[in-house]
Each structure stands twice: as structure tokens, then as C-alpha cells.
Subunit: 245 residues, 2 copies
């Protein structure tokens, strides 16, 4: 696409504009949008008009902007996330009802945990995961289960890229990952929230590599953890089988 | 954005490229993508490279393309569809478990029914709705319930724009809509599928206008229809109340 004086393409700017909206900033004024997206104000005004015309952005009554339904529609009617979610949902509902805690489905993407789906229950413990939200890999049970069951080059690549951060934690991550592979699941006492423990089980492909992860968060020290893990392991096998069919 | 010789902007082309992927065509070769998007092949190649670089498209192993996870992430972490879905999901799960049929949540958008969420059950009757899919307004119970409870100008606008198609159906649509407003719900014997009956209840705002619709599809002639409608009406009130809170 046509490049601006600053050297970034129109597509770069467009992505930064869409990226400026998130769960904490679902609506933005044009001025705030220009600032967050680091796009000149005049260009932002012009782009916003075009994006609103295409339904990718929508104007709220107060003149603020939010992501348009057309963007949601384009992104959701076909995607790898959607296919995975469709297959996993009935199994997630089973676990959600039996374990009576929130359950989430996530994948490893760009060295982060990307949450694909989440079913919550009223009264379930604090849980930071939100759909399409990202979480750190080596500080969550989801990330650890995904990493442990990643192909060797993916795992080693991650450990190399994040070596400095990881060594500051004073834990032997390779050893922990080996332990998770041995157990078949990962648990993690609330790094993110001290009241809770996360338990995660990988959804494996035919080569034994993680396609995704299923996770529940239970109150820390809960006696129901082993049963929750067993529900996840059972559901995970069902999802693997359904994905192969 | 910079205009091409043919007069359409880069954003026009970008939207047509994303629009070329749907539930029936989740993956496309670059050639097929250029044809479906009506974008010159050379331009398509260049745009695809940029889009893959940003993660908005992804290359599959066989060289075909599909929508990228980054697009899914950008569109899902903040949107009106997401907010509505978050509030409605627990109520939809209740109905799904009690009525034991698929349930969907939809809105009226650009003169069509846009499906926001769907919970299915194994063994439930045939149901054409899929998430982010579109369905016709005046041939589905969802569309009729949404239209009946739309503000007067929206309803009349729709009837004007689609007058020719509607008069060919030889039904008095205004009368049917008044009937739906009186009942508080819409039922429709399978126009789309002859084995099933759709039942839809609007989710109303404080002015009595439909924000969305909740629908189940039951086997045609099923005696459980009144009970299913009652479950929908109860859930719909819960969602309205939760949206106002």
C-alpha cells in the first residue's frame, strides 16, 4: 500500500488504528485514537471516515468510535480460531457444568497465550482470562502446558528469546516443562492471582503436540483439583478425536 | 487511502479480500482470492504479502491462504457483538440445557439477521444458523421478531426497501408483525428447513425496542414449542435486565 512520509504503509496505520481498541478502551474519540495509534490527526480523520463507511469502525451517539460489526463479522465467519472453538465448545460446556468453575480454551501465538473461548460460572474464582485476550506463557498454567507440548524447536526458540526474563525467575523452566510432559498437565499457583490455582491440559494432535490448551481456575488449595484435571483430560481427548474426524 | 486506476481505494480492495473468505471458503489460493475479490492478480500478490506480514492473513502448509488469527484477535477483544454475547451467554446456556435444542442470539444489521452466538446440542434438529452468518429477515422467526420490535422508521424503511420481494410472498407482513408484537414472540414454520419450526423472542431495551433476538429451532409440530417459548421469554428478560445493569 502507498507509503507515507514517515515510511509506514497505510496498512501499518490501519492495523495500529484497529489495535488501539481493546477491552479497556472499547470506545475512543478521534483524538485519543490518533494518539494511541500514533497516526497524524488529519490522516486519522480521513481514515476513520473511510473505515466507518465500510463498517469496520462505528460511530457511537456521543461521537466516539468503536470497532464495527462488519469487522467482527469478517473475522468470525471463517478462521482457525472459529473452527477450533466450534469443536471444543460442547466439551467445554460439559466440564463447565461438572467442575462448576470457569473454563477456557487457548492457543500459543506470537510467544503469548491467546484466549479463544471462555465459559464462566457465577461465583467461580477470580480469572483474568478474557476472550481474545493475551496472557504470558511462563507465568500461567495454560502457557506452560502449551510450551511443554510444543515441538522441540518452538519450545527452544521460546526459551532462547525469553532467556533473560526466565533466568530472573530463578526456576529451572526446562525441568518444569519436562515434569509437565511427564504428568500430562500443568498446574500453577496464582502468579497472576494469589487466591487461585490454574490447571491446564493440552489438546494434542496426532504427533503429540499441543494444538490448544483447556484450563480451569480453582480456589488455591482446593481438594477438587485432581477431579478438575481429570475432567479436563477427558474433555481434551474428546476434542482431539473430534478435530481429527 | 491511495486510489487505483479503477477508482476504488486500497481499503475497498482490502475489505473485498477479507470478504472473499467465508464459512464455505475458509481457505483460498491467491488466484482464487484475486478472482473472488475482483482485485488484479499482481495487486493481490502484493497485498497478500503485506497482510500475511501483519498476521491478518495466514499461509497454510499447501500455500493456500486463510484469515489470520491476528484479525480474529483485533475484532474480538472489543466489539458491540462481544459485549452482548458476554451478557447473554449464561442465559443462553440455561435455555440450551433446559430446552435441549440449539439456541442462537442474533441482531438486525444492514437489513439482514446477523448471528452473534450459537449453542448447539448433539441431536438437535437441523439449524442453518452459524456464528457471524447472515439470514434473511422476513423468512426467519429471528428476523420477524427483530423487525416487529424495531423502531417504527426502521421497520417501515425495511418494508419499503424490500417491498417487491415481500409482495411476491402474498402475505400481509404488516399484519404479521403486529401479531408478533401482540404475542411478544415470533414462530416460523421452516421456510429454510421444512422439518423445523423457529421460535424467537426479542431482547428489549427500555423503550421496548429489540436490541437482539433469542431463538430456538424445534422439530415441526413439536408439543414442546410453548415451553421453549416460555424459556426464551424468561431468559430474554434476564438479558435485558443484565444489559441495563
Amino acid at each position: 500500500m502507498a507509503n507515507s512520509d514517515s515510511g509506514d504503509s497505510m496498512l501499518d496505520r490501519l492495523v495500529r488504528i484497529l489495535d488501539a481498541f481493546d477491552a479497556e478502551n472499547p470506545t475512543l474519540s478521534v483524538g485519543a485514537l490518533a494518539r494511541r495509534a500514533r497516526v497524524p490527526r488529519a490522516t486519522t480523520y480521513r481514515l476513520v471516515d473511510e473505515l466507518v463507511g465500510h463498517g469496520l469502525l462505528a460511530r457511537e451517539r456521543e461521537g466516539t468510535l468503536r470497532l464495527g460489526l462488519r469487522l467482527w463479522e469478517l473475522a468470525n465467519r471463517s478462521s482457525a480460531a472459529r473452527d477450533l472453538r466450534e469443536v471444543a465448545m460442547p466439551f467445554m460446556e460439559d466440564v463447565n457444568q461438572l467442575v462448576r468453575q470457569s473454563i477456557q480454551l487457548a492457543i500459543l501465538h506470537d510467544d503469548e497465550v491467546l484466549v479463544i473461548e471462555r465459559l464462566s460460572r457465577p461465583g467461580s474464582v477470580v480469572n483474568q482470562a478474557s476472550v481474545a485476550g493475551r496472557m504470558p506463557v511462563h507465568r500461567t498454567s495454560m502457557g506452560m502446558a502449551l510450551l511443554a507440548f510444543s515441538p522441540f524447536p518452538v519450545r527452544e526458540g521460546y526459551l532462547e528469546r525469553h532467556g533473560t526474563v526466565i533466568s530472573a525467575l530463578h526456576v529451572d523452566l526446562r525441568r518444569e516443562l519436562a515434569h509437565i510432559r511427564l504428568n500430562g498437565y500443568a498446574t500453577f499457583d496464582g502468579f497472576i492471582d494469589s487466591e487461585s490455582t490454574g490447571a491446564s491440559v493440552p489438546v494434542l494432535d496426532a504427533h503429540g503436540h499441543a494444538l490448544a490448551v483447556l484450563a480451569v481456575v480453582v480456589p488455591r488449595g482446593s481438594e477438587s483439583l485432581p477431579a478438575a484435571v481429570m475432567a479436563l483430560r477427558t474433555a481434551s481427548r474428546g476434542i482431539s478425536r473430534a478435530l481429527r474426524a
